[in-house]
Amino acid sequence: MHAREQISSGQMSVVFFCFMTGSSIVNIPGPLIGYAKMGAWISLALALSTGMALLACVMYMHRRYPDLDFIEYSYALVGKWMTALLAIPFVSFLFHMTSGIVLDIGLFMTTTMMRQTPIILFLFFVFLVVALTVRSGIETMARMFFIPIVSVIGSIVAILALSYPNYKPEHLLPLMPDGIKPIALGTYFAYGFPYAELVLIAMLLPYVRKKKQGHLHRGMYLALLVNGLFLIAVTLSTIMVFGPMSEELSYSMFEVARTVDMLVVLQRIESFVGISLITASFMKASISLAALNLAVVKLFNLKDNRILVFPLTLICFLLSLLQIENGQAFWSNSVGAIHPLWATAAFVLPLLIVATVSLFRRTP
């Protein structure tokens, strides 16, 4: 991404929405219902509020330093060595995220639709396309993501609407049979994936054209709110269709789509969910790899900001393969239990440290 690349505030809002919705719309509901039971939508609402607070922090820092990304204003505020210290968990988590997003695509395909195909094939080709996308630059990414995300949202809305005959509202009760603990556990999970991850967008905000900054704040909050509402809608849909069985499902939207059977013609539409997951995860992985590339480039103050794309992609590809060789239980534990704490240590705490220092500095 060249320094002169610029996108509008609307495009940045779309990129942000793609990143937040990404793989979460298919991956989140099942495990979340497993943690929070019928109160999963409450956990999502609580996690969304923490996301709003984090976004407020990110936008405050962007308002103070509109031309600088997270690494650059860290350098300015806390110095070189502290930034390097904060960057270690930051960059490590970006590696984990990027490899994990693509790994989820592979796991989805080998679990549901193409069980005999080796996972390495999915990982290889998705990483190849992601690397080429990131090499083409943020402007190209921002322009190309609009239509795919509209088609993803359209597919999800269509499936939610077509599943209407299968909805049983009585499945939503009882709401909190085991008290507040399952809600808290669900909030912990949903906070880690996807809301704590939004701090990454601080690496891309400087690309917003200065003249078009006016609507940026409104657009970003709207994107986050719409993302939250979609996740809640998908979770409620899953609970109303499957009831107590929901917690056993890994890819709940896929299973909801499989129940659609209308007028004989409208059936077997779960492939649309497969397409949606791959498209949305590809966009999220591209944004994540772009942020990772930028973080490393800015950390080492490199002039060529595209030279590291392929080596970093290869690292993420190998990491995906090594993660799944540890077994799916290890990976599930990594995402469910450790991911939120890791996101806090890698993204949230560094942001809070830098924002706190900024509060005490009078001039940027």
Partner: protein, 80 residues
């Protein structure tokens, strides 16, 4: 194992071809960072090809955050 090594060699060759034009214009700092990234891929590649289970960031995260995460999940889980 042979298949994995062949895959890695093909990937390295493709990356080398794709980056060749840019590599010629790199300054020393950029070359150093690029080499470090490639060394990391060699480490992971050897781990992948020979299934050595060498430590990397996931294991580091587990060792640092594993116990606190387990504790948090345990106190928030209602016994069934």
């Amino acid at each position: 194992m042979a298949g994995k090594i062949l895959l890695l060699l093909i990937v390295y060759a493709v990356i080398g071809l794709a980056d060749l034009a840019r590599l010629r214009k790199l300054h020393s700092r950029e070359m150093a960072v690029y080499s470090a990234a490639l060394l990391l891929t060699v480490y992971l590649g050897i781990d992948f090809a020979w299934d050595l289970k060498w430590p990397f960031i996931e294991e580091a995260a587990f060792s640092v955050l594993g116990k606190p995460a387990e504790f948090l999940v345990k106190i928030l889980t209602v016994p069934s």
